[in-house]
Structures are given as structure tokens and as C-alpha cells.
Amino acid sequence: MNPALLKLLDRTAPVLTLLAVLLVWEIGCRAFAVPAFVLPAPSVVVASVPSLELSTWSGHILATLQVSLIGYLVSILLAVPLAIGITGSRFLARTVLPWLIVIQSTPIVAIAPIIVVTLGAGTLPRVVITTLISFFPIVIYTASGLASVPAELIELSRSLRASRSREYWQIRLPYAIPHIFSALKVAITLAVIGAVVAEFVAAEKGLGYLILFSTSSFKIPVAFAALAILVCCSLLLYAAIVWLQQRCFPWSVIKSAD
């Protein structure tokens, strides 16, 4: 094998693997005559897409993206200040942290119906569920990032009489950036899961709702198509966060644990 071909193979490996899996799936479904209501072949899934209008698809996709992104932003706005508070104050750490762990240990899927009953049916409960599912990793990663600063740097800044806010802005936060981005990557996929969980419980639009609707009327191929689109949305959002990190904080990419 010449090195150029090897390089090409290496670069296209993920796509080739995906194609191989789809091919095996397609051949398997045809060879064993698996009925569409058990496992539809990829070709059947693709063929089911035009059974709904393009505007219907885009409406569902936008609904899910809207809830995911709003919930995601809310969880960032909540989690980063919380992490700063926890690392900066022993009192906060002693009072808030146990509650965070309680919230994280609660299966959100189980309390989602209760949230919907309490908050009524609308976008609000869906955003709350999404936020609850995605904010915990951001708090924990950010807090550990803020705390990972070498002690001598903190001592240096204090000996130079730097204010608390400068200590955070110029030392702690830059140190935490790789950690925060690791958290943001985990959280964006969780936000999509959160939105779908919320749609399963109460919604009249969104990809999660479409999956529920299609399976209830045994249109399994449409459900699979919705699932595939959902996975693509997740991957694209993840890629967007990676791109953002490379764009704004290229120095942090090497340190960031992927």
C-alpha cells in the first residue's frame, strides 16, 4: 500500500465504517426478510422521508433544536456562576453542592411528568427538563478546572495584591477553559437527549414527539428517519462547539481532554 492511499483510508475511516454498517444492515434485512415493523432496512427508512412534507420535518427539527439550545444556554448561565461560587466559597460548597448531587442522582425521566403537571404544557417545562439534564457536568468540570490552577500562581497574584475578580478573570478562568469546553461538549449531547425526553412526556411538536407518534401508528421507518436526523443534529451541535473552541481558544485544544 502506498502512503497516500493509507492516509486517505485513515481520513475516510469514519465514513467508510458507517457505510459498511449500513450496507450490512441493508443486506441483512433483505436476506432474512426482516419485516419493516421490526427493523426497517436503511433504504426503506430513506424512502419513508418523503411521506411527510419538508415543512413538517423542518418544523419538528426546529422545535427540538429550539428547546435543546435554550435549555443548553440556561444551563451554562446557571452552571458557570455556580461553579465559581462553589470554588470561591466554602459556605456555598457546603450548602449547594449536596443539592446539585441530589438533582443529578434523580432520574429526570421519572420526574419529567411531575414537572409537566406542575409547570403546565408549554415550552417552559421542556426547557426546565433539558436544563436539569445538561447542567450538572458543566458545574463539575468548570469547578474542577477553576480549582486546578497551580497554588504558586494564586500565591503570586495575591502577593501582587490582585483583586479576587482579577484572580478569576486572568488566572482561574483561562485555566478552566479546556475543562469548560470538555463540559460543553458533553452537555450539548445531553441537551438534545433532555429535549427528546421532554417531548416524550408532553409536546405536540419535535423529533421526540414524531418518534412517539410514528411508533404509535406503527410507522417504524419514519421513526427511524427521525432518529437518524436527531443523531445528525447532535453531531452537528457537537462539531459546532469543537469549532468554537478552535476559533476562540486555539491554545486550549491540546490540553482539552476529548
Partner: protein, 327 residues
Amino acid sequence: MHFKQSLIAGLIGLASLSAHAADKLVVQLDWLPDGDKAAAYVGVKQGFYAAENLEVTIQPGRGSSDAITKVATGAADIATGGISALMMAAAEGGIPVKAVMSVYSKQPDALFTVKGGPITSFKSVVGKTIALPPFSSSAAIWPVVLEANNIDPKSVTLLKVDPAAMAPMLAAGKVDATINWTTVAPNFEGVLKQAGKELAVLPWSAFGLDGYGLSVFASDKLIAQRPDVLKRFLRAYKKATEFAVKNPEAAAADLKSMVPEADVTAAAAAFRASVPLIQNEISAKDGLGSFEPKLLAKTWSWVAKSKDYPMDKIDPEKLVDRSFLPK
């Protein structure tokens, strides 16, 4: 003082405005907007609500109990759902909701099995495996129906299965029968056809189960504060139901225009499957929408037996309000 006066003036202005603006109502369905729910959408599309000066929002639901809870908590004004769920809610500690109109005067529960299979009647379920949806009113009432037919419920193996997995399991021969509402028969036929099988439906109403099924509920708040709005809604909803019974295809098209995920052919078939539950000898005798006291008591007796409630735990008459039905 000036502020107070202008506030009062403003409120009076608002009140006179709202006399002309359409009254808003939120209607909570008991399940996803499949074909059997078409009547609610017919009301919007054929202008029955608008003619009564109503602006109706329809929300899909996740089961009768879910729909009743939403009305009780004020997230919706009106709901549809099985009246047995309301009876259970009342028996479990009261709920500020009343049934104001019956839609199904026959119970929709049925056994679905394969034509030419081992199950041909209720008697032949002994020793068989049957799938049923968890948390459904059918699951609760099943053992009582068996006992009424002198069959030991323990002689049947039950599998609790997600509703979406039932038709595939029946088609694959993993279970001998499933428990469903007759309205989903068309969906099952499609799945079974792919497996080269044919569906046989055994409605429980043919084996002694009698009583009201799907009904319309209203919150006590709506009854107390906007009785006139409720009256107008029921008039419109009854017209919409009658229209859908006469024109299932048009009803399915109306549903499709508001629920783009729906499939017109399947929706029309599903609604047609529900027509015998709406239009039958009972509705012909008592009129569509009525709650005849004897049949209502019978409905409660099935619920009480299925849940081991004492018969005097609730008075079913206290759960219905007949005064809003159009004459």
C-alpha cells in the same frame, strides 16, 4: 384615586371588548392525534367552534389519567378520556373535574388475535400469552371481565408491553393475543398483512363488558366560571362528532390539515373503527352524549371490581353534570 378610576374604566373597557372577542378554550386529548380523535379537529376546520364564537386550542396527551390531571391542574379547560379513569381519580381522593358528555356508549376494549389462531373466544384464552399496555384502564379491568366469564385470571400469562411494540409481537407470533381499543384495528391490520396474517377482533362488549368509554370532561372551574362557554363548546363538539360519523374521510382530511404527521387513509380507517362505539343501539335510545344512570352505575361497578373499591366509595352520579348537553 385617579389611578383606581382609570383602572376600573380600563377593566370595564376590557370586559366589553371580550364580549366580542372569541372565548379561548384549551382542549386536552387523551392520546396522540390519531384518527379516532378527528372530531376535535373537525370542530376547528368546519367552523363549528367559530360559529359558537370559540377559539379552541387542541393539545395531544399521554393517556386518560394524564388528560384528567391537566384539566384538574388548570393546564387545560376540557379533556377527552375514558370515564373509568375519572372514576378511579375520584375514588383515589377526589378531583375537581366532571364528565359532561359521553362519546362512546360502548367500551372500546378488545382482544386482538390472528385469524385461524388458537384464540377464537374468551373461553380459549386459558393457558395463552397475552400482551397488554401497562397503566391502561384495559389492564385494570381485564381480570374482572375474565371472572365474569368464569375464567381464572391466573390461567392467562400476561406480558406488559409498550403499545408501539404490540402489533409487531402479535405479527411475529410472540404472543397469542393483545389487548387494545378497537379503534387501532386498522393499524394492526397493516402490520399483520406484512406478516401474511389476518386480524380477528373480539370486543369485550360482546362478552359482558358494558358501560361508557370515551367521554368529555370539564374542570369545576370552567363549570363555575364560564358555564355558557362550556355549553357552546359541547354544542359545537356534538355537531363535529356527528359530522365526522357521517364523513370520516373529510374528518381525516381536517385532522391531517392540523396534524401534518397524520396519514389520511389510516386516520379515516381509525375513525370508521370508532363509529360503532359512538353510534349504536344505546346512543339511538338515549341520544348521543347522555349518561343514562343505570349504565353509568354499571360502568362504576366494573371499575370498583377491577380496583377492589367498595361499591359505595363514590357516587358516580356526582361525577357527571348533564346540564350542559345540547337538547
